[in-house]
């Protein structure tokens, strides 16, 4: 029976080869820092700035090298087989019927097993090193509680309560000050992921998890929730500010202060305290002690609102309070239906919460 065949031109083979190489090269490319941006606006896992992230980076490059080599070998064999054994026309005789070879099977069983062994041992070492890292005495302790759709941060040792923007001190070689975070959840599953500082760990209700960071470089690092937690999962953004020692100390001092009552915003404060705001929000030093929503005592010390959904400006703050659905449709803060003058007053009050 004669079969018409469709020949694959050489140029198409070349395209396949190029595509295959490009995939591999792209992967390896990102282990080099070519996509670098000095201000960390790109949360690139291959630009670690903290010990656990660096350890992950090292093992990931090892893994990429091994898989890259495997790819190169098998890919080449495949391309060679396609090029060498193709028969565009019909052949008169069938090729020699080869059924197998025990030696070859043994070889390509043993080699992968050895590769697996090496890779596993390297992996296990890093798992242990990260998960069983001892906590030095000077470590900063944070409790992170995941909520739909914001982050609560408490510093039990320092008496600070914050939200959405985490400040931690940079860790210096001589006297390390890593930050150890206990991860809890108030409702459903979340995940804390700031790629340049650590691998992600989930926040699961009725469970205590932990992660640690040991940043070596000051700056602001971006992240976001990495476990689907509901409608506004996409906007549960995260920022970690790694401060120099003194800056961190100053920040802590500022955060420990209760709110200062200012006469000119008394009207706004009254509205805040007499409508349902205080059911959800807390302002230290006032009657407001709601825990459902973020603590607002130092709202103005944050650069963003609504866990990163908007920049912290007066205009955005008004828009947020007027109708949260504008920035985060499906979030759990209701629109309070304030009149415009009430809105102005409350916004002015909130602007004093520095």
């Amino acid at each position: 029976m004669r079969l018409a065949t469709i020949a694959v031109p050489h140029v198409a083979l070349g395209k396949l080869f190029a595509r295959g190489c490009s995939i591999f090269v792209l992967a390896l490319c990102f282990t080099r820092t070519s996509l670098a941006s000095a201000n960390n606006s790109i949360p690139n896992i291959f630009k670690p700035e903290s010990t656990p992230a660096e350890e992950i980076h090292t093992i990931s490059r090892f893994t990429l090298t091994i898989t890259g080599l495997i790819f190169a070998v098998v890919f080449s064999l495949l391309v060679y087989a396609i090029a060498r054994f193709r028969r565009p026309g019909a052949e008169e005789f069938e090729p020699p019927q080869v059924y197998g070879s025990n030696q070859i099977e043994l070889a390509w069983t043993v080699i992968p097993v050895l590769i697996v062994l090496v890779l596993f041992l390297a992996t296990a070492r890093v798992i242990h090193s990260i998960q069983e890292a001892p906590q030095p005495a000077a470590a900063v302790e944070v409790i992170a509680v995941g909520h739909q759709f914001w982050w609560e941060f408490r510093y039990p040792g320092l008496g600070v309560v914050a939200a959405n923007e985490l400040h931690i001190p940079v860790s210096e070689a001589g006297k390390p000050t890593p930050t150890f975070v206990t991860l809890l959840s108030a409702d459903t599953d979340h995940s804390f992921w700031v790629p340049q500082l650590a691998g992600k760990t989930d926040l699961i209700p009725n469970r205590r998890n932990a992660l640690w960071m040991e940043p070596h470089q000051t700056g602001m690092y971006l992240g976001q929730c990495a476990q689907y937690c509901g409608t506004q999962h996409a906007k549960m953004l995260l920022r970690v500010y790694v401060d120099a020692r003194e800056d961190f100390a100053k920040w802590v001092e500022g955060q420990k202060q209760p709110a200062v009552a200012k006469a000119e915003v008394a009207a706004g404060r009254r509205i805040f305290e007499q409508t349902a705001c205080i059911n959800c929000h807390a302002v230290a030093g006032t009657v407001a002690d709601g825990r459902f929503g973020p603590d607002l005592t130092h709202l103005m010390s944050r650069e963003t609102l609504a866990s990163g959904a908007a920049d912290n400006t007066r205009e955005n703050l008004k828009r947020w309070i007027r109708n949260p659905e504008e920035f985060k449709p499906g979030c759990l803060m209701p629109a309070m239906n304030l009149s415009e003058p009430e809105l102005e007053a409350v916004t002015s009050y909130l602007e004093t919460l520095r």
Partner: protein
């Protein structure tokens, strides 16, 4: 002895009223018709699932897009995943298995034809139940509308408190019902293969497709049950006030994850093993050589079947298990890569020294080899737990599993379509359109899924309806979306080719590929009774022996 004498040519029935034709299809218990029904069902859901994916990709083409609302987007990714796994992949593989297994083992039908029909209709009904959810009204949080909890429906997001209305209930019920159908189909596969082989067809002489479907069928029995059990528990929580996954009452969210992934991981092997089966039949025929290392291929598949039940928690590396558990699952996950890799080597070994013919089925199988290799290697990266702590829950994972499901499984399925279409329809497809489909789809696939790895490496998590500008994700998302349109064109050409060829294709004859397994000895399409006389076989390639009596197939 020619192969034409074995079977009668298909008898064309003309002039029957449509109602009679429809009734014969609806009440059929013939494995071939049920196979085609499964395949058609899957193709319909493939188009729907593809639409859902397209909607998502359009929403993500630029940051802060407003193409759909967040609520609708969340429904899209949930329905896309659920549809593709349960109403595309499972049915289409059961469909091909149903069609081919009796033909390949020399039997007249499956072991339990009525259970077969019942399983199909349950699957179809489950799909309709799931899609009924779209028709529900919108209330608070879109209550009564389609499920929006993700295809793995993590607790406690699925509890009454967080998932108001019936969207989650549709997810549970649709899958419970079709799950029972899957178990029925699996029982049929196992019983048929164990009990209905023609004389002489010992286990060592079964075609690899039959072996691999036996492993898959046996796996399904143990795979679907944990999901069924977990869904019953979730229903008890939601309807009877139970506390299985109620974290406020001491319940564990992680327990749901364990149960789900004890289902979920072996499930993907259930999906890929039949894809391996197609490739194991097609590559030898278009290399003109027998499969290299048949016993090793069987052993590797059985090995994969068993080991795959021990790797599930690699989906849970980030939930805070202790370092010993994390190490254990990293090890088992890497270990399962060994038999999988061996299979790739054996396929290359089959091609080696052969006479390769690049017809459409072979083109898709070659692309399968490249793409499955890459998918397996990104899998090894994910098996490395610390690396996983960065990659998990990101677009890197999404790229990885689509590489397996689209790049490997769907490509193997396209190969299978082109290979067995002449047998099922009696007609040849248009080869130029087949080639066009291949290239369009390959280009589209690589545009989408190669570049999808990159946002994951740059910190983009999955299941987000929008993303922030300035994080370096924009250009990659744009390229990913563009690839979708190439793939859509490819699929449209594919469907068009199948339909057009049904009426205008060249007659195929019994054995257009000069192949070697029993289905090629029947007419195209085969008669309802498959074989006029049940054959007796004495080797793995009975038709090869008939065509080459001087060089018979050797064990």
């Amino acid at each position: 002895m020619s192969t034409e004498s074995i079977a009668l040519t298909g008898v064309q029935e003309t002039g029957r009223p449509l109602s009679s034709v429809l009734q014969s299809w609806i009440t059929t218990v013939d494995h071939k018709r049920l196979g085609i029904l499964y395949i058609v069902l899957a193709l319909v859901f493939l188009v729907i699932g593809g639409l859902e994916a397209t909607i998502m990709r359009i929403q993500l083409i630029v940051p802060h897009n407003h193409f759909v609302s967040p609520q609708f987007f969340n429904q899209m990714f949930t329905m896309h995943g659920t549809t593709m796994i349960f109403f595309v992949a499972m049915p289409i593989l059961f469909g091909f298995g149903n069609y081919l297994i009796p033909l390949m083992i020399g039997a007249r039908d499956m072991a339990f034809p009525r259970v077969n029909a019942w399983s199909f209709w349950l699957t179809a009904f489950g799909g309709m139940l799931l899609y009924l959810s779209f028709v529900g009204g919108y209330g608070l949080y879109g209550a009564g509308a389609a499920p929006d909890v993700g295809w793995f429906a993590y607790a406690p997001l699925t509890a009454r408190t967080f998932s108001v209305g019936h969207s989650t209930d549709f997810w549970i019920l649709g899958l419970l019902v079709s799950g029972i159908g899957s178990i029925g189909a699996a029982v049929n596969f196992v019983a048929t293969i164990l009990c209905m082989r023609c004389p002489g067809m010992t286990f060592g002489k079964m075609p690899l497709l039959v072996w691999l479907n036996l492993v898959m069928g046996a796996m399904v029995l143990f795979v679907i049950s944990p999901l069924t059990a977990a869904q019953i528990m979730l229903s008890i929580d939601r309807f009877l006030g139970g506390h299985f996954f109620d974290t406020q009452a001491g319940g564990s969210a992680v327990l749901w994850m364990h149960f789900f992934w004890i289902f979920g991981h072996p499930e993907v092997y259930v999906l890929v093993i039949p894809a391996f089966a197609f490739v194991s039949e097609i590559i030898p025929v278009f290399s003109r050589k027998p499969i290299f290392g048949y016993p090793v291929m069987v052993a590797a598949t059985v090995g994969i079947g068993f080991v795959s039940f021990s790797v599930w928690a690699h989906h849970m590396f980030t939930v805070g298990m202790n370092s010993y558990a994390n190490s254990f699952f990293a090890l088992t996950t890497m270990v399962v890569g060994v038999p999988t890799g061996i299979k790739i080597f054996n396929w290359i070994g089959t091609m080696w020294g052969g006479h390769l013919q690049f017809k459409a089925p072979m083109l898709f199988c070659i692309a399968f080899l490249f793409q499955f290799l890459i998918a397996g290697l990104t899998g090894i990266m994910l098996a490395c737990t610390p690396f996983n702590w960065q990659l998990s829950g990101s677009y890197f994972v999404v790229a990885h599993f689509h590489y397996v499901i689209v790049g490997a499984i769907l490509f193997a399925l396209f190969g299978a379509f082109y290979y067995w279409y002449p047998k099922m329809s009696g007609r040849m497809y248009n080869p130029t359109l087949g080639k066009l489909h291949f290239w369009l789809f390959v280009i589209g696939f690589h545009l989408t899924f190669d570049f999808m790895h990159i946002p994951g490496l740059l910190g983009m998590p999955r299941r987000i309806y929008t993303y922030e500008p300035g994080r370096g994700w924009e250009v990659w998302n744009l390229i990913v979306t563009i690839g979708v349109f190439f793939q859509a064109c490819g699929v449209l050409i594919f469907v068009g080719n199948l339909l057009w060829s049904l009426f205008a294709g060249k007659l195929a004859g019994n054995d257009p590929w000069d192949a070697w397994t029993l289905e090629w000895s029947t007419s195209s399409p085969p008669p309802e009774y498959n074989f006029a006389q049940i054959p007796t076989v004495s080797s793995r390639r009975p038709l090869w022996d008939l065509k080459h009596p001087e060089d018979p197939d050797v064990d």
